[in-house]
């Protein structure tokens, strides 16, 4: 079954030596660069990407072609393409895997995309903890340069491109595009106020496009096969394939390339993908798109509030808004069985956001710490009933009022956990001795799948 699936990113991932230039080239690598720089105009490449309907894979899901078309093109001002490889969202590990496994796919994508945008200098910003990936990418860049695919006058086309890899300092906030640009400029990674957006004033105050690793890696295939072929995969406005980082209590966790539009049920239980929940256990809840998105109980994840099957698409996962839906986000799929404590998990997420808030704007700086402390109290048996409402209120005061989306990302998991698992929070507060016992599991009312 799996061999029939169209693989856009991972088709050659299992070939030994695919990380080297020779093997990658032998399996059709860099043909997109040849096709683009020799036979296409930059605008034609942009047009193909627009047609493909590919949406930003970093989490927000903004159509990539549209983002490219917003790029300001004033005369005499350089433009930049920056690849966001600062993947730090808990539960998401696809870019890491992609960069270390098929580094040349990203390099090829960077060349094609830079050509399309008219950028002569491009950067790949890689998460600071992944120094070994930086080395892999630098080696790949050196190989591509030696073969004439990078540097001056690429393949005799007259197009120049220099590509650099920049490791970050290990801050989650630098995955936010404007914080990333600040960090890339050598400053403290504080998100900028928008507008102006990076498309107008980005890196060094020049027009800049920032794209996720996975988004950029789709461009070689789109150039080779056309945007329409890409758009033929998927459903509606969710076109193409998506890498999902599946983790948690699944039989087969890992990175999967799924065609958008399969059902969530199939993704979890089919042997082709995750193979179901670990033996003897049942699914309780899922965080479907990385730690920032709202958590959903099993029943609402598999079926929407209207009773329809939920699909792995941007639209279907968001069906019902935040009341009964969630988001596809960056595709960090964390499955939890009935032994998971939602309160502890929420506290853990909250602790992460508290640690990673940059401290620039007040609601996030103070609110993330406050929520963490209250959740810590509840988890450790010192909570009171009004703490639950306090958490909801604090999360509401943060949401939408911050400079960057980290505030929302910190608020949503807390608000959604209380929305769907209030009983469990109340159990922690009413029966602290029972709830704080090591290995304690909430046995109250819940619908497992």
């Amino acid at each position: 079954m799996s061999s029939e699936r169209l693989k856009i990113l991972t088709a050659n991932a299992d070939i030994p030596g695919i990380e080297t230039f020779e093997v990658y080239r032998k399996h059709g690598g860099y043909t997109a660069v040849e096709k683009a720089v020799k036979t296409m105009t930059p605008d034609a490449v942009v047009e193909e990407v627009k047609k493909s309907g590919v949406r930003g894979r970093g989490g927000a899901g903004f159509p990539m072609g549209m983002k490219w078309s917003f790029l300001a093109k004033p005369e005499g001002v350089p433009r930049y393409l920056v690849c966001n490889g600062d993947e730090s969202e808990p539960g998401t590990f696809k870019d890491h895997w992609l960069m270390k496994t098929i580094p040349h796919l990203l390099i090829e994508g960077m060349i094609v995309s830079s050509f399309a945008l008219g950028a002569n200098t491009s950067y790949i910003y890689v998460r600071g903890e992944l120094m070994y990936v930086v080395k892999i990418l630098e080696k790949a860049i050196a190989e591509a340069k030696a073969a004439g695919f990078l540097g001056k006058n690429i393949l005799g086309s007259g197009y120049d491109l220099e590509l650099y890899v920049q490791p970050g300092g290990g801050a989650y906030i630098c995955g936010e595009e404007t914080a990333l640009l600040e960090s890339l400029e050598g400053k403290r990674g504080n998100p900028r106020n928008k507008p102006p957006f990076p498309a107008v004033k980005g890196l060094y105050q020049c027009p800049t496009v920032v794209n996720n690793v996975e988004s950029i890696s789709t461009t070689p295939w789109i150039v080779n096969n056309g945007g329409e072929a890409y758009a033929a995969v998927g459903i509606g406005r969710s076109t193409g394939t998506k890498l999902i980082s599946a983790s948690g209590h699944l039989k087969k966790p890992g990175v999967y390339e799924i065609p958008l539009g399969i059902t969530v049920n199939e993704f979890i239980y089919s042997d082709e993908w995750c193979g179901g929940i670990r033996d003897g256990h049942h699914l309780k809840a899922v965080v479907a798109g990385g730690s920032s998105v709202p958590i959903l109980p099993a029943a609402l994840l598999l079926k929407t509030a209207n009773g329809e099957d939920r699909l792995m698409t941007y639209e279907s996962l968001a069906d019902g808004g935040f009341a009964t839906g969630t988001m596809l986000g960056s595709g960090g799929f964390i499955a939890m069985d009935e032994t998971s404590c939602i309160v502890r998990n929420t506290w853990n997420f909250s602790r992460f956001y508290h640690h990673e808030s940059c401290g620039q704007c007040s609601p996030c700086r103070e609110g993330t710490g406050w929520m963490e402390k209250v959740l810590h109290r509840i988890e450790h048996g010192h909570g009171s009933m009004h703490d639950i409402d306090l958490l909801v209120d604090v999360s509401k005061k943060i949401e939408g009022n911050t400079i960057c989306p980290l505030g929302d990302a910190a608020a949503w998991p807390v608000a959604s956990a209380i929305r769907h698992f209030r009983d469990e929070f109340e159990w922690h507060i009413k029966f602290p001795q029972e709830a704080t016992r090591p290995g304690a599991v909430y046995r109250g009312h819940m619908e497992l799948a």
């Binding site: 801050a171 906030i173 403290r188 106020n193 508290h354 640690h355 990673e356 808030s357 940059c358 401290g359 620039q360 704007c361 007040s362 609601p363 700086r365 103070e366 609110g367 993330t368 710490g369 406050w370 402390k373 209250v374 109290r377 306090l390 604090v394 005061k397 939408g400 009022n401 911050t402 400079i403």
Partner: protein, 366 residues
């Protein structure tokens, strides 16, 4: 360009921010600003105290903006309609911002030199709640000295970044920045290197709270016991326009002059600030006009004329379509007939009605 804020329309230049437009109308509807500081480039957008609701983006595109926007950095569009004091969501959010700013603040106003001229104090007084919902331990820092004359008490800091911009923009060589992240972020002069610069003292004036204080003035007196007097001197480094703060006939503090919004009008040098502390060093111009409505200065200086002025302007703006040949300049809010008042102000919501009523009552008392 025309922009309407809280039902009052004002004509402004293109490029004006909502906050500046609101300030043009008057202090009663100007959003509070804890981090924005007009003389400093790139300041603003951080504290979120000035968030307002834009109910119509512009004449061309009258859709409302989905989120509250920071008025200090959002430029107005022609025909923009903004709600500040008449929007419940804005007021609720602002209440939340006060709460956030105070949860890690030590609330040591009784021993803080800034008390009485503290923007956080004013902000909390106007928009905050009576009690706190925060039960946890507050974050604290050790006090540090930034050079011989300035003390940094990070525990009180609200991370507005004004001092960072000041150090960046009016002194040479960056010696001031922010370390760490989140609620542990702190202002620092890397490795406690003293700020050795003729204009470093200005970070004290720009600080909205008591985080940066003048060591020559620390614990000398309370602000409300001192008398501010405008004075100038012939200084070869700065313009020499200052405010002297007297206790009796002794000059106990020298600061730069500030405008109505608490913003320094001309930065002064360290010599003027820390060393010229005798009356004979200065040419006295006269008492400083205090426009601010500080918690403390309200007691001390009594009524200033801003509130009735606002009511008059509101009344005038509401009467524009009434062609009775009255002299609009002479109208006041009290003269609005009851039905007219209801018709005009009631749709703005209960809080707006309550606000106007309190202004009326206040004006009646005077």
């Amino acid at each position: 360009m025309k922009v309407t804020i809280d039902n009052i329309t004002v004509e402004v230049e293109p490029g004006t921010t909502i906050l500046q437009a609101a300030r043009k109308i008057g202090p009663e509807i100007a959003p509070p600003a804890m981090c924005y500081y007009e003389p400093l480039k790139a300041s603003g957008g951080k504290c979120r105290a000035c968030l307002v609701k834009v109910t119509a983006g512009s004449e061309k595109d009258p859709r409302p903006m989905p989120k509250l926007v920071p008025s200090c950095i959002t430029q107005v569009q022609d025909g923009m309609v903004v709600e500040n004091t008449i929007n419940q969501q804005v007021l609720d959010t602002r209440k939340g911002i006060v709460e956030f700013l105070l949860i890690n603040h030590p609330l040591d106003c009784p021993i803080c030199d800034q008390a009485g001229e503290c923007h956080l104090q004013d902000f909390a007084f106007e928009h905050g709640m009576q009690q706190t919902r925060y039960e946890e331990e507050r974050r604290t820092f050790e006090k540090t000295d930034l050079g011989p004359n300035i003390q940094l008490h990070m525990t009180r800091c609200i991370l507005c970044y004004r001092c960072v911009f000041t150090a960046d923009q009016i002194t040479d060589g960056r010696v001031h920045g922010v370390l760490n992240r989140g609620d542990h972020a702190e202002i620092s002069t890397y490795l406690e290197k003293a700020i050795d610069n003729d204009f470093s003292g200005n970070v004290i004036d720009v600080c909205p709270v008591g985080a940066l204080t003048d060591k020559t003035y620390r614990f000398k007196n309370r602000v409300w016991f001192t008398k501010p007097v405008d004075a100038h001197c012939d200084c070869d480094k700065c313009k020499g326009d200052v405010t002297l703060w007297y206790r009796g006939d002794e000059v106990i503090r020298v600061t730069a002059r500030k405008n109505q919004w608490g913003e320094v009008t001309a930065f002064i040098c360290n010599k003027c600030r820390f060393e010229r502390k005798k009356t004979s060093d200065w040419v006295i111009e006269g008492p400083t006009k205090v426009a601010r409505h500080s918690v403390i200065s309200a007691n001390k200086y009594g009524a200033n004329k801003i509130v009735p002025e606002f009511a008059r302007r509101l009344a005038a703006s509401q009467y524009k379509d009434v062609k009775e040949g009255r002299n609009l300049e002479q109208l006041s809010i009290q003269q609005l007939p009851e039905e007219r008042f209801k018709q005009l102000v009631a749709p703005a919501g209960e809080s707006a009605v309550a606000g106007i009523r309190s202004i009326q009552n206040w004006a009646d008392d005077k």
